[in-house]
Symmetry: D2
Subunit: 510 residues, 4 copies
């Protein structure tokens, strides 16, 4: 059931999506060199799930079906699931830069939660539909693209007030057998090489805009779907030590009157639950982003260590270089810790899905969003200026210069010049190429911009409880209505949830 990376690539041949990359129509996504690094990166999520040493992290047992599935398609039941997902994402991204596939996890969990709530509120049967869909996706081990960020048009107006309604995806027609959707999603990661899209609303809609509250699944090659994408990574560039192998494509996806049967529709105009869906997705996704960027951090730390060595520097003697490495580690593990805490203090909603804690998830994402630039700075600091001054790889084969350059461009005597240049190009690729900047931008704006996280932190933090604490110290103690108060027996000072027992507790109590 679980596919390998090779299986996944083959499986793409079953689809005939309408894809353009840099203005050129792609005949076979599976064979397009422009997209190969993206397919490779997703492939890591498949191959790792087949490696015995990674099974605990990379696979999980789906409660509703009893089957073992790829963790990127699993609905979380426990805090352990959250922690393992976090580690699994880090594990994949430290190999592939960005494994992309965790977006499917984030969306599936959110839809699982939202459909439960819609049914409870409206007596509908979305959840059963979704469960069928989920089980099929798990069974076929699919890759899903998350089509969420609308083109948005004029940001000072709501969706329904736009001159051109197609700047948001919306329900154009409701038929007996399904709906017809129309509009544009502007930033869809992995768009060309997924099996299906999950279309999701990118904001809470008001009743006036209820046609814009829509969530459904659409095959990548459904009639009416067009994808205009960028190449994934830096395919074919000899200087791209990393991103010629692994990369990510983002695409604009246009839905031109696409029909979706009811079986694949999971939300259609239920505005309030659409808001829950969006928020819930955001929380899952920000938690995943923490793992992803920590994995990228591992790459920077390792490359930094190699670069220092190749330059002939010594972290014992050159304290300022060691300091920069420690600063880099502090940033990476500092935000990763927020992911761990969000797992530990996860909470279950009424669908029995375990959600990461919203405060810690948003703080972790906020920390990585802004500090990714510091990570680049520190990686550059320990690397030295050579990484943007080194002659290109074609120079390595120039008989008139190669020998001379090789003779003088080594650092430490026992590390050949070629090895130093290779590490320098890797660092350039990771941090000083357009692909390097992609990691920054996607960290800053992906899963919502910093302002969105700040609002979520404020909305979820138990300020009222702290206020009450201080009032009691002042011997007062009136608490304003409507503020969340949480200090109860054995409760966490932050989240208000019960402080969980961690592993080993029982054993010790015996």
């Amino acid at each position: 059931m679980l596919m390998s990376a090779a299986d996944y690539r083959d499986s793409l041949r079953r689809f005939k999506p309408r894809v353009f990359v840099n203005g050129e129509r792609i005949d076979s996504v599976a064979d397009a060199p422009q997209l190969s690094p993206g397919i490779n990166a997703i492939g890591v999520s498949y191959d790792f799930a087949l490696k015995s040493e990674h099974l605990p992290l990379m696979t999980a047992r789906q409660r509703t079906s009893g089957k073992t599935v790829n963790r990127m398609l699993h609905i979380n039941d426990t805090s352990t699931d959250l922690l393992y997902k976090l580690e699994a994402v880090r594990l994949m991204c430290r190999e592939s830069g960005c494994a992309q596939r965790y977006l499917a996890h984030d969306a599936l969990n959110a839809i699982f939660q939202a459909t439960t709530r819609i049914d409870a509120n409206h007596g509908t049967d979305y959840h059963a539909r979704f469960l069928n869909y989920l089980h099929r996706v798990q069974e076929e081990d699919l890759t899903l693209g998350i089509a969420m960020t609308d083109a948005k048009g004029d940001r000072s107006r709501k969706p329904g007030a736009q001159d051109n309604p197609d700047v948001y995806v919306h329900i154009k027609e409701r038929r007996k057998d399904g709906i017809v959707i129309r509009g544009t999603k502007a930033i869809v990661t992995s768009a060309p090489y997924v099996h299906e899209f999950l279309v999701m609303p990118c904001r809470t809609m008001t009743p006036d805009d209820k046609d814009f509250a829509v969530c459904c699944a659409v095959p990548v090659d459904a009639e009416g779907v067009t994808i205009a994408a960028r190449p994934a990574g830096r395919p074919g560039e000899s200087a791209a030590k990393f991103s010629a192998r692994y990369g990510q494509s983002t695409g604009v996806v246009m839905f031109d009157d696409v029909f979706v049967p009811w079986d694949n529709v999971f939300l259609a105009s239920e505005c309030e639950e659409g808001g829950y869906l969006t928020t819930s997705y955001a929380t899952h996704h920000r938690h995943s982003c923490i793992g992803a960027r920590a994995g990228f951090g591992d790459l920077l730390i390792g490359t930094g260590a190699l670069m220092i060595e190749a330059n002939g520097l010594d972290t014992d003697r050159h304290a300022h270089v060691r300091d920069a490495m420690v600063e880099l580690i502090k940033i990476v593990e500092g935000f990763f810790a927020c992911g761990v805490a969000a797992s530990v203090y996860g909470i279950k909603d009424e669908s029995a899905t375990m959600m990461p804690d919203a405060v810690f998830s948003n703080i972790g994402k906020l920390l990585l969003a802004t500090q990714i630039y510091d990570m680049h700075r520190l990686a550059h600091y320990v690397s030295g200026g050579l990484i943007v001054a080194l002659p290109g790889p074609d120079e390595d084969h120039n008989p008139e210069t190669a020998a001379s350059l090789s003779a003088v461009l080594a650092g430490r005597p026992d590390i050949p010049s070629s090895q130093r240049m290779e590490v320098a190009r890797l660092m350039e690729d990771l941090t000083a190429s357009h692909q390097g900047s992609w990691y920054s931008l996607i960290s800053l704006h992906g899963g919502g911009s910093p302002e969105a996280m700040k609002r979520e932190i404020w909305r979820n933090y138990p300020v009222g409880e702290k206020r009450e604490l201080v009032e009691q110290l002042l011997d007062r103690g009136v608490l304003a209505d409507g503020q969340r108060v949480s200090k109860q027996p054995g409760r966490c000072c932050v989240t208000g949830c019960e402080v969980p027992e961690l592993p080993g507790a029982k054993e010790a109590a015996e």
Copy 2:
């Protein structure tokens, strides 16, 4: 067995320590107003352990005796112990500013570990002695002062090379029945109002300095002990809304040929294990500090919220005030998360004591050490300038000004002037008094200065493993000797330890 705060205060009457505060001899520590805030703060650790709602956090079952003890005296068996200790410290410190007593926890755990190792290496029986001591301390529910930071003298010289050897505590004489120690510990928190001191080495000693490697227990009123201390908090000051009630005293403790029977000696010249003792203590302590300062953060957040209200500001309309609150929350929960992660990834040493992970513990402490100043800045930001301009509390009772001042110094109409002034004075007390600065300084330098944490982070971080990861990506893969490599099945990407299962995992697997 567990005492109340009142019992604790009473119990101090059994001791007759030689204590000076501001040059004045204290007759009865329990009754000295200068020390009362310190005794109150420690008292919180007693009273909270008797409250049913706090039992899970504040008490624990000691494995070696089977008895229930105050968590501040407990040896950790599990990750849960670490997490509960972290939460317990936060819980106490959000009430008392700094509960101080967690230092005993940190030292007891480290001595437990070190004595196990010494016995294994040297065939001694320190551990059995210590176990007797530990059980007595737990049984009597004592408060211990940690006498660690030596006066140090000329910092460019080692202990044995000082002009005056008394700048470090050392073994002056070894007798059949015990040892005689001599020297000065310069910064001992809570010194006047503890029952006993645990004397510990503050650095790794070389064989030349083996007399300086000494760890032992000494009653506070042992012959030859003199304490010169500061008042705790701001006793008796009417403007001190918080620190007239709760505070901390630090003292210089001079050991003038103090005899210690062998039963109370836990390390005597075993230099290498002394180093382990020091490092182990530091790790436990930095982990505890995270909880402590998060509790202080709770006080700032709550006071900030009250101050904003009293000023008539609204976090919805005044986004820059809300932003500052979110920034404050981000800092506090950001470093607290490191404490959680250090608990989750705790590791057991050969004594079966669960240690918090060193990387996360040191990062958390480093983050709080430097960001405590930002916390003050943000607390001041949301408070406005009034907090250092408000007339003193004696003005409140001045018939010639009180009514006029009261009439004009209110902010929001429904919050009386007196209430606004009370909150303003609380904020001043917490952040703009010498007591407020104590929190900064102790955060920065307590438990080791930032440079020490940076070294520990570097020493413990698996840089080699990341380096190898990148080499494999470059299709090389030679790993330098001696570097820690950890990527094994289901291992954490940071710590290399097995990713633990969190609560609920089993239930879900059924």
Copy 3:
């Protein structure tokens, strides 16, 4: 005409203000120990103006009278005036912590400008009145308190909409011979020991609130004036190495139907020009603050250097200590440079007064406002934890402990313990006492809070010009209306003003 510090203290005896400090009525301000450090600090501005070596910085020739006056009372004609004022403020504050008197400078310059503008707009004769006043103040070499920050009441309402109108100072009655003012100014620096107050509006008033737009001079002991103040510094405290000598008092000043003759009224309901007055004052004042806090920075740098020495550390060998010193220097000189740039690019308004550039003045103030906390952190970093653990000065004279403590509390052998303790107490006084916190708070909120500076930066920055620059690069070039465009021949890229010639240019051209 220029007084000495002693003359100034004497001159205060001519006034009988109604002053309360901590609820106690002060008989003679000149003789009150509680206020002595404040009087000493102001005294520096007098004595320095008499020292021949400081004449160029501390005095200037008043254009309108031809007389030489204290620079703190001078109206700026040139960029040199601005630069010399900046340096003069730094010079005084590095001696006195905060010389306070520069506030008079800031207000006098702003009123000079505003009265010129009012007369031009309204045909009034305020400027002539003010000139008389100015010349008298200069002639008598007075100290003026700036009564600007109103009590404000409910911040969500404008002045005229408050339940109690006295939370803002306002014109209660207009008579033939003058006006009657009423209300409260909440934070007036130096209030008890000035000769006169300059009452100024703290915000731009709307026509509805025109009675609140008032600027006038009031003797400190005018009938109806009451001052409730804090002590200046830490008078009489033996541990206060610095602030027992120099300090600042802030007071609440209540105006209870105070009559002001027209000769002393400089603005009465001219709302628009009141806004100009406020903004202009703010710009002058923020520029002065830069010099003041740089002077405080000098004290921290010098004390840090002494502390490092006394601890026996060496900045060559202990790179992390040197790094912290460099960071401290970087902060101090970084914001000071903004003051220099604001001087260089000063602009003249229609009154021929030279104004510091608003962008650089506000950036400099913003940098110091937020980084003062970092300055404390760095000062603490280089000092070590001793500064909050050292026994108090009374312990120095305790025959039972003094000798022992002295023997062990030294650092470097050639620096006696007493000297180390003195420096430690100085550092504690400057950074870890309530006086230390006063410097932080006043830096953060004095002269407007950071949000106010950000708005001024945005309002004054030539964003439109940069936008046009980029449009031209894109071969477009339409510039939106109303945006300031400045790129003209030889113009500064920031301010749009002509790039000035600096000294020596002419000489070289000959």
Copy 4:
């Protein structure tokens, strides 16, 4: 005599350098598309010097010849020269990204100073030679490449101790008519399209390494010179809105037994003065870098403003976007102010050359070096995620997608989609392409890495004077030997130099 950009390009045809770009031999540098953006950027320094509106900034009168020369080739006589150079560099770089030619200025000034000193110390006649050279360069209005950063080899060894001596340029042979040099300079900005190189030592040499202390001028096409360079900018890329027009090439320059006649030799083994040359160059250069990066900042600010507009955002309503712009401005003008202060407090050395103050120059460079990453972050923050997700420019001409994309990718209704995409691509080009990263890296490491600046700040800062100030406050006053003390009449508190008069002072005094 002053050339235009077109003249400059033509003049390159007179030279036949041996240049390889990406392994390919360049026949005619002037015509090579790979180098065209670099030649364009240098061209700005020529064309601007011919525009009447820029004459004051862009040209100056050379004291030693009396002739008007391009400011990039001028020796500074006055503070005004420094300020005008700073502004001129900013002016050129806000057009061209990086004008590069200021490196010539920095080197010429330093050699002017060093040759004066060598002659004074050694009785040589280097200065006269150099003056001839300088006048010729000015007369011919040449562009010079600064060949300073050696390949360095094993960084733990000095030049003379390297296995391969060619990792540093050195004197291989001394002949009657000149010297023969050999070795490699690794990072030479503009290398392919200069007229001549100025070879300079990159560090202070010890007497053992005196052959490595060499400074001389070498024509770009001298026998034995080989250049392996990168393309300048992103030539020919349609998405490169900026860097297809303007860019910079860096090259490795190999000197294979190149003969240099004595007339072009300006330092040959005078080690001590070689150190002075290096430091002096570094100070001039860091001062220039401040102007350069401020110009780049202007581009970011302008592009950010356009991007915000195109996205339909409003800085009044979206405070967090305005805040980010203000933060960006604060950074740019904050470090620019250091350049202004360094000009104001410039000092003359014995050659009568005006040097920018070292403390302010180094602080400014340090601030820009680390904050360039924050500038990118802020530029990205205000731009939104679109800038790395937008389909490439080839998609604009794809008949199957162009119309649809154009219809949905607009933001504000009155700004066409094409215009928004153009700005987005410009922002991507400036900050998220390899060219964007070049600005970061070159800011961080160019002109010396942050550690070098920190050392210079510490070396030049009058710490001793501040220490003395504090000692006097403590009523002591012994000053350690060898520490710079500066407080003299009317002296600057930072630099110790006389506080200069700024323009207008004299006029006002009349």
